[in-house]
Structure formats: structure tokens, C-alpha cells
Amino acid sequence: MKWISAIIKPFKLDDVRTALTAVGVQGLTVTEVKGFGRQKGHMEVYRGAEYVVDFRPKLKVEAAIPDELLEKTMQAIQKAAHTGKIGDGKIFVFELGQCVRIRTVEAGHDAL
């Protein structure tokens, strides 16, 4: 099993979710995060003093998937989250050791 963790632009969430559902991903977990990277922050002025907000709001979308879905899933995210502008984010892939569904105690693939 694989664990996909994608950092995306927040307004792409709906597209990404739709794309993932389409390829057969059954569940996902989303976290609000702040990202720092090549995309630069914007300048704010508060009462005359300027400052840069370096961190940009991003979403982290995580999904556990069976190995065979890896390729399709990555392409799906890639396409759905793409704008071509800097700051689009990244997809990270991890090995997932085990997975259990709390409700049923199913484990492994059945629990995804």
C-alpha cells in the first residue's frame, strides 16, 4: 500500500477530490497547512509598517491507496491541481506499512 501526500493550492480542492474519486480512491484526509517555497509571499502593510507574509495557505491532501492505483492517482492529482503557475505544490509518496478500519477491524486493502 502507498500513502500519497499532496500539497495543493486551496481552491483546487474540489477538482482534486473529484479526480481522486474518479480513479477509485475511496477516502482522503485534508489538512490546512502553510507552505514556504519558491512562490514568494505577499507584502502587507499594517499601520505604515511593511512586512512580508512568507507562508502561503495550502492544503495537504492525504490518501492511502493500493499499490496498483499509484500511477493513476498521481496523474489524477497532477492534472487536477495543475495551474502552471508557481506554487502549485508537490506530491509525496510513502510506503504504508499497515492500515486498519476502526469500525470493522478490517485490515490492509479492505480497510482503504
Binding site: P10, V30, E32, K34, H42, E44, V45, Y46, P57
Partner: protein
């Protein structure tokens, strides 16, 4: 000695009426805070600073423009019933001698108090607009429009009735301005919304309606209560006199009816929402209160309290249907201003016929049509010019990012909001 006593009576009565005007004006000024809180509660957090700025700014612009030219257009000399005259700044106050001259036309309260009371009305008309165009209109274009509306458009149509123009002659009856203030504001708002288009994401590709919930409903509720309170000044002060028994009774009637109409509007709005949607939608209760208030504003002095309640309740039902209908027509009005002040304003003007024998259907319809047509068309032209020149809408990326950072460089709640998920 008799003379001195009579003079002192005049002095006291002048003082009481002036004080009453000032208290009323103070309450109407407070409505600016009400609109501000209402609107800032009903937009998303990323557009909150901008709506705050617009509201504080528009009130200020209204005061300045009305002082410079608006008051004189509305209440100055003119030989035509359609075209008001023009002159600048507001002249001084009544002399003691004039007041004590005691004839029928002797002034019975301070001229400057009158200006103060009138100026806060202008701001109300303009406040109506800011809610409807929220979350997408450029700040400085909005302010430019405010200059024109409060300095020229409102004073002209106000002159037609309150300045003694042709609508007054036609018998158009509009006690505190369901039409002159509220419908006028809503007409200008409608023109703006039609040119602006809906907020991005409000209507889906298949035409479906995506709700965009307001970020802070306690503020919206507070705003409604402030407006309710301020309305006692808005309607109560429009009797223009309190210093004798009949006037005092009339003012009392106006207070009580204003309160009852709002209360009935809340109940009607909540029940309608519960029946239609299966939920007691608070925002409909709040819009119901405002609808009740707008509905009674055209004639709060003549109905009984029961009738006032009914007029308010009809307003409360109407506003729910109107909001839902406008949404289906893809007219995107984030706070429901066009429904509350426009649709219900019309209802209020017609409801005058229920209890005021002096009002005529012809007169009321004339007022509705003339005010709507003039303000709508004049505003549309101004908005169009702004659109072609400086532009009226921020670009899509800015809209997504939020008006606050782009226009004001600030966040309303910098510590609280992340990127809202699933909203």
C-alpha cells in the same frame, strides 16, 4: 409679563424640538454602525476589512457631499418641480428674533439640527448599496459612486417629495422614506449588481446555486439590533415635531409601530424559513426584522399596532421569497439588500393605502415608478462610466485572494482563518 412667558414657551418648545431632532439624528447615525456590522458578518472573512472600510468611508463621504451641495439641492430654492436648484454649503441657524416672531412660518427648531438629521439619512441610502456589491467591487470606484449618489442623485429625487417637488404635488406619501431612501438605495444597488455580475463561484456551471456563508453571524445579528434601534430615530424623528400633545402622541405611535413591524417581520421570516427549508434560518429572521422596518417606514403614523404588525409580517414573508427568487435569477446580492430595501420598500409604499386616507394608489405608484426609474437609470449610467474608465470589479485572482489584502493590505481576523476546507 405675558409676552415674556409666551417667548419663554417658544424658547422651551424650540429647545425640546431641537433636542428631539438631535437625538433622532444620533440614532440614525448609529445605523451606519448597524449596516457595517450586518454586512461584515455576512461576507467571507477575506472580504471583511474591505466592507468595513467601504462603510466607514461611505458614511463620511455622504456627510461631506451633502454638506457641500446635497442639502441645498434637496431643500434649496427652485422654480421647477422637477429640477432642483443648486447652491453650496449650509447657511447659519435661525436667529432668536425669527423664532420669537411667532408666526405660522416661524422656525420652531434648529436649522443645523435639521441638517444633521437629514445628512444621516443620505448615508443610509448609500449603506444599502455596499452590501449588495460586496466581495467583488473595487473600493475606490465604490467611493466615486458614493460621491455622485449622495451629492446629486439622492438629493434630486429627495427634492421631488421632501423638497416640495412634483411627487409631493402628486400626493405621493412616504413618511420616512421607504421609497425615497430605501427603494432608492436598492435601485442603485440593482444597477450595480447587474453590471458587476455574481461573485465567482456563486453559481455553478450547471446553474446551481452555491451558498457562500457569512463569516460571523453574531456580528450580523448585532448589526440588525443596531439598525432596529436606530430606526426609532429614523422613523421617530420624521414626525419632525414632538413638542405638543398631538405630535408627542404621533411620535409615540411611530415608535410603537416601528417596533411591532420589526417584531412581526422576525416571526414571519423565521416561520417562513422553517416551513420552506425545514430550518429556522437566522439570516432570514434578521432580514425579516429589516423587512418589517422598511415596510412600516412609508407610513408608521397611521396604522394601529395590529395593522403595523401585519404590514411587518407581510414584509417578513416577502423578503424570504424575494431572496430565493433573486438567487434563482442569478442576481447575486450577498446580504439581501435589494430584497429588503427594494422589494419590501415597494410593499411598504403600497401598504400606506391601508390606513392613510390621504394617500392614493396613483400617487404611490407614481412615486415608486419615478424613484426607481430615475435612480436606476442615473446609477446605471454612472456605474457604466466607472466601468469603462477605472473599472468596477477586481480581477479574478484578486477576488479569489480576497479584497482585504488587495485593497486594504490587512486581514480582518489574521489569527483565525486558514484556507477554509470544504466551504
Amino acid at each position: 409679563m405675558g409676552d415674556i412667558v409666551v417667548e419663554q414657551l417658544l424658547e422651551l418648545s424650540y429647545a425640546l424640538d431641537t433636542f428631539y431632532f438631535l437625538m433622532s439624528g444620533m440614532l440614525v447615525m448609529w445605523m451606519a454602525a448597524g449596516f457595517t456590522m450586518l454586512e461584515s458578518g455576512l461576507v467571507r472573512s477575506k472580504n471583511t476589512v474591505e466592507i468595513l472600510t467601504k462603510n466607514v468611508g461611505l458614511y463620511s463621504i455622504a456627510c461631506i457631499m451633502y454638506l457641500l451641495v446635497g442639502y441645498n439641492i434637496m431643500y434649496g430654492e427652485s422654480s421647477s418641480p422637477f429640477f432642483p436648484g443648486i447652491s453650496f454649503l449650509v447657511s447659519g441657524d435661525n436667529t432668536v428674533a425669527d423664532v420669537l416672531s411667532g408666526g405660522k412660518d416661524a422656525p420652531y427648531y434648529s436649522n443645523i439640527a435639521d441638517f444633521f438629521f437629514q445628512v444621516v439619512f443620505v448615508a443610509t441610502a448609500m449603506s444599502i448599496i455596499s452590501g449588495a456589491v460586496a466581495e467583488r467591487m473595487k473600493l475606490w470606484s465604490f467611493f466615486m459612486f458614493a460621491v455622485i449618489l449622495t451629492g446629486v442623485i439622492y438629493p434630486i429625487e429627495g427634492y421631488w417629495t421632501w423638497g416640495g417637488g412634483f411627487l409631493d404635488a402628486l400626493g405621493y406619501s412616504d413618511y420616512a422614506g421607504s421609497g425615497i431612501v430605501h427603494l432608492a438605495g436598492a435601485s442603485a444597488a440593482l444597477a450595480a449588481v447587474l453590471l458587476l455580475g455574481p461573485r465567482k463561484g456563486k453559481y455553478g456551471p450547471g446553474g446551481q446555486i452555491n451558498p457562500i456563508p457569512g463569516a460571523n453571524l453574531p456580528l450580523a445579528t448585532l448589526g440588525t439590533f443596531i439598525l432596529w434601534m436606530g430606526w426609532f430615530g429614523f422613523n421617530g424623528g420624521s414626525e419632525l415635531k414632538v413638542s405638543d400633545i398631538e405630535s408627542a402622541n404621533a411620535v409615540a405611535m411611530v415608535f410603537a409601530n416601528t417596533n411591532m413591524a420589526a417584531a412581526a417581520g422576525v416571526v414571519a421570516g423565521l416561520i417562513t424559513a422553517q416551513l420552506l427549508f425545514g430550518k429556522a434560518d437566522l439570516t432570514m429572521g434578521l432580514n425579516g426584522a429589516l423587512a418589517g422596518l422598511v415596510a412600516i417606514t412609508a407610513g408608521p403614523d397611521t396604522p394601529s399596532m395590529l395593522l403595523a404588525s401585519i404590514i411587518g409580517a407581510v414584509g417578513g414573508v416577502l423578503v424570504v421569497f424575494s431572496i430565493v427568487t433573486l438567487d434563482k435569477l442569478h442576481i447575486d446580492d450577498p446580504v439581501g439588500a435589494i430584497s429588503v430595501h427594494g422589494v419590501v420598500g415597494v410593499w411598504g409604499l403600497l401598504a400606506v393605502l391601508l390606513s392613510n386616507e390621504d394617500a392614493t394608489l396613483i400617487g404611490q405608484l407614481a412615486g415608486i415608478v419615478c424613484i426607481f426609474a430615475f435612480v436606476f437609470i442615473a446609477s446605471l449610467m454612472v456605474w457604466l462610466i466607472l466601468k469603462k474608465t477605472v473599472g468596477i470589479r477586481v480581477d479574478e485572482e484578486m477576488e479569489y485572494q480576497g479584497m482585504d489584502l488587495v485593497e486594504c493590505g490587512l486581514e480582518a481576523y489574521p489569527e483565525f482563518t486558514g484556507a477554509a476546507v470544504g466551504k
